[in-house]
Subunit: 264 residues, 2 copies
DNA sequence: ATGAGACCCTGACGCAGGGTCAGGGTCAAG
DNA sequence: CTTGACCCTGACCCTGCGTCAGGGTCTCAT
């Protein structure tokens, strides 16, 4: 007769694991000798090896219990089920690898490659880190919530930023971020922003909204609000700027648009 | 400002997970409002998405904490490490799949394919289920302990079983299993077994041991003992048979051999 | 006969990554 | 004023064991 330690050695498992299987009802508790030690027959080795075979194949112990007493057809069905799960897990891990592979630097964390290229270009154009970080955070959120739209949006952004008008506007913001809310230059900035918006509206047709790239995609209002909030949090002068824009008939930021006429 | 529920919705996680990250120190605890509710800024969404990106890539939360504040070079090293782990996991799962695929029926559980073929042949030859099951259990143990030897051993077994002498012996055992310990036919069986062994010894040279296929491989004594024990447990008449063989100068079963001369 | 060391026993806590109550308080709308 | 949807903390649950803690027992050497 075998002691638990010998059984463990024969089956290649730990003593603790055997007691665990007893507790889970996978392996029947054997007789005890006079001093209370468990004493196993050789059959237990076989059962234990079968348990390990299933467990090492990724079968959860709860299912192992059923499989040990299952008939061939239940067994086959269960094996198929397990295989499906394994395939799904492998697919998942592969996706994880893909994602991890994209995290070459902390900067790119949670950003798709297209966006990384965009930020590299922004840096090239000499924008302040502060502005880029804020843009990056916005795009992390966008990529998380509407990942499918990101490639098209990024392509649009990259085209815009090569245009003189947009680039002038971006450089304008890059200065704004350091201003205090009471700085008189904010007024100037607001005027320029509105001028830009009016021009864009005139060029691309009067739709009542600017031709921001975001327009073409349905962003849920919560997302827009979140991005606006993030903007306001990032710059101390942001509320004042929004107020000035509001006075000039424009509301919002992420999806900035003409205020509806009174009476509607 | 966001409530915890809104934050959870934006980042695509559960409220519970956020509190868990607070407890683990991954996400800083935000200010509370007058009623004790947590109030988050938009920045929290970004942090949370970064946490999830890493966590979903299989990074343990303890490591996520470090990575969130890591520099690019530590980050790159960690990413490499994680990717190694992911590859290992994928390889492991693939092995699980392979093993699972071999478990087509409960019968074959924990047996290599070569052995399955052997048992199919035994069944063809008309052996009792009882005998086959016992043989199978032995091979489950052997396959678990010395898997590398199994293919060669099985090939030997299959050759043997096609020989007239061995097959006669096997059919003899197949009858023995149903006998009671006091059955007089056991004596006859013992005589036949010994005759067979003497003949084998004469044919293959007197080495002091039979030319059992197992001889060619070093089986640890514990394994041999285990297999003997399994044999004894399986048939009520086994002890008596071993006794009769002992009287005729042969000892053991799995690696049956001539008893050493007295005085050694 | 008496240590010493290697076993064995039960019971309990620990890990990751949260899920799921329980038993409250709070907020907004009708 | 109620209702339902939120929020709070604290605590226990899951898997598959590892790892004490605090005992008892076995065997061998001294």
């Amino acid at each position: 007769m075998l002691t638990i330690g010998q059984l463990a050695a024969h089956a290649g498992v730990t003593v603790r694991a055997i007691r665990h299987y007893h507790a889970k009802g996978l392996l029947p508790e054997p007789e005890r000798d006079s001093s209370g030690y468990r004493r196993y027959g050789a059959q237990a080795v076989v059962t234990l090896i079968r348990i390990r075979t299933l467990a090492e194949a990724g079968v959860p112990l709860s299912q192992v219990r059923e499989l040990l007493v299952a008939g061939p057809e239940q067994f086959a069905a269960a094996v198929e089920d397990i295989d499906r799960r394994l395939r799904a897990q492998i697919r998942e891990l592969r996706e994880h690898r893909d994602r991890i592979a994209r995290l070459a630097t902390g900067d790119n964390l949670a950003l798709p490659p297209a966006a990384v290229a965009y930020f590299d270009r922004l840096r090239e154009l000499g924008f302040r880190d502060r502005v880029i970080e804020m843009e990056r955070d916005s795009w992390i959120v966008i990529a998380a919530q509407v990942p499918d739209h990101v490639p098209a949006l990024m392509a649009l952004k990259r085209r815009q930023i090569e245009g003189a008008n947009w680039r002038r506007l971006y450089h304008l913001f890059a200065e704004v971020v350091e201003l205090r809310p009471d700085d008189h230059r904010l007024i100037e900035v607001a005027d320029q922003v509105v001028a830009f918006l009016e021009e864009e509206a005139a060029t691309f047709g009067e739709t009542g909204r600017s031709e921001s790239p975001l327009d073409a995609y349905e962003f849920r209002p919560e997302l827009v609000e979140l991005l606006d909030t993030a903007f306001v949090e990032s710059f101390s002068c942001a509320p004042r700027l929004l107020e000035l824009l509001d006075q000039r008939g424009w509301t919002g930021w992420t999806m900035i648009q003409r205020k509806p006429a009174l009476g509607i």
